[in-house]
Symmetry: C2
Subunit: 184 residues, 2 copies
C-alpha cells in the first residue's frame, strides 16, 4: 500500500492572495456559478481526512452554515484541545499529525489551509499535490497563499483547465516522484 | 484611432516570483525548449515600444548578449540620462512617459519589467493586457511580480494554454473594457 498523500485544493487571485487582509473572501463570488463546483466534489471523493488551522476553523464557524466537511477533521491549535462534534484539536506539529494519520489506512489527506498551515507543510516537504484555482483578479494586497521563506519545490503540471468564469485551475504534483506508484 | 495599449509579457513561478532575491533567473531554464518561444515573437509584432526599469536594463546588459529588443526602448531611471545606441533614458514618472508615447501613433507598448515599474503602472491603472507564463515550480522566496500594496483590478481571462514543459500561459485583459474597440 502506498503512502496517503497530502493534497491542497485552494483558490488564489492572480497576484497570489487567498483572502483580503481581514480574511474577506468576497472576490470568490466572481466565479460563483452553480452547479459548477470546479471539481470539488470529485476531489472530496479522493480524501477522507481534513486538516485546517485554527484561524481557518474559526472562519468556517463564522459563516454560520452547516459544518461543510464530510470527513474527519483535525484543527491545528496551540490553545484549543479535545474535540467537538465535528473536529479534533491537535496541539502538536503538523508533521507529527500527518505521521499519525498515516499510521492508519485510508484515503488521501486534504489540507484546506490557511496559509500558515500550508507553509508549514511546504517547509516540511509534505505536500504531494496542489490544485490551485486562479481567480481572474488582482486583489492588490491580502493574505498570501505562498508567503516568502519556503524551500524551493519543483512541480510537474498534471492538468490545466479554463472555465467560462475565467477561473483557471492548475493541478500539479511534486516533481521527482515516480508516476503510478499509488496502489490501493 | 484607439489608444495604444500597455501590455505585459512575463514569466513567474507558481508562487509569484520573477527571479530569486539576487536576480537569478535560472528557474526559467526548466521551460527552455527551443524552438518553442511561447508566443514571444508573435507578441513582439503587436508592439513597437519597450519600457523597462533601470535594474532590468542593467540585468539585460549583464547577460553579455546582443541587445535583445528590436523596438524603441525607454529606460526609467533617476540617475541615468540621455541615450545610448539602444535606449533612451527617462527621468520622469512612467505615467508621463506613457502619455508622451501615446502622443504619437504606433503599435502597443511592452513593459518588460521589472516588478517596480509594473507596480507603478498597476498603481496608475495603466496596464491593459497581461500575459503571464506560470513556471511549474515554487521558488520559495525572491522578487515578486506582484508585491503588496497595489489597487484591486478585475481581469478578464482571454486565453490559457498549457505547454509540454508544464508552463501555463495565462492571458488577461483589464475587465470592464469594451471588446473589439481597437481599430487601427
Amino acid at each position: 500500500m502506498s503512502q496517503r498523500q497530502v493534497n491542497l485544493f485552494i483558490a488564489m487571485s492572480l497576484d497570489g492572495y487567498i483572502a483580503k487582509e481581514d480574511g474577506d473572501l468576497g472576490f470568490l463570488a466572481m466565479v460563483d456559478n452553480p452547479p459548477e463546483d470546479y471539481g470539488y466534489a470529485k476531489f472530496n471523493e479522493t480524501v477522507d481526512t481534513v486538516i485546517i488551522g485554527r484561524k481557518t476553523y474559526e472562519k468556517v464557524l463564522s459563516f454560520g452554515i452547516d459544518w461543510p466537511y464530510k470527513h474527519s477533521c483535525y484543527v491545528l491549535s496551540s490553545s484549543l484541545s479535545g474535540h467537538t462534534e465535528h473536529v479534533e484539536f491537535y496541539n502538536g506539529h503538523v508533521k507529527d499529525l500527518i505521521a499519525k494519520i498515516r499510521q492508519q489506512e485510508g484515503k488521501d489527506i486534504y489540507c484546506d489551509g490557511g496559509a500558515e498551515v500550508i507553509t508549514q507543510l511546504l517547509k516540511e516537504d509534505l505536500v504531494d499535490n496542489l490544485t490551485i484555482s486562479v481567480i481572474p483578479t488582482l486583489l492588490g494586497t491580502g493574505i498570501r497563499l505562498f508567503p516568502d521563506g519556503r524551500p524551493e519545490l519543483r512541480l510537474q503540471l498534471v492538468s490545466s483547465q479554463a472555465y467560462p468564469t475565467g477561473l483557471v485551475q492548475l493541478c500539479y504534483r511534486r516533481a521527482g516522484k515516480a508516476l503510478g506508484m499509488r496502489v490501493s
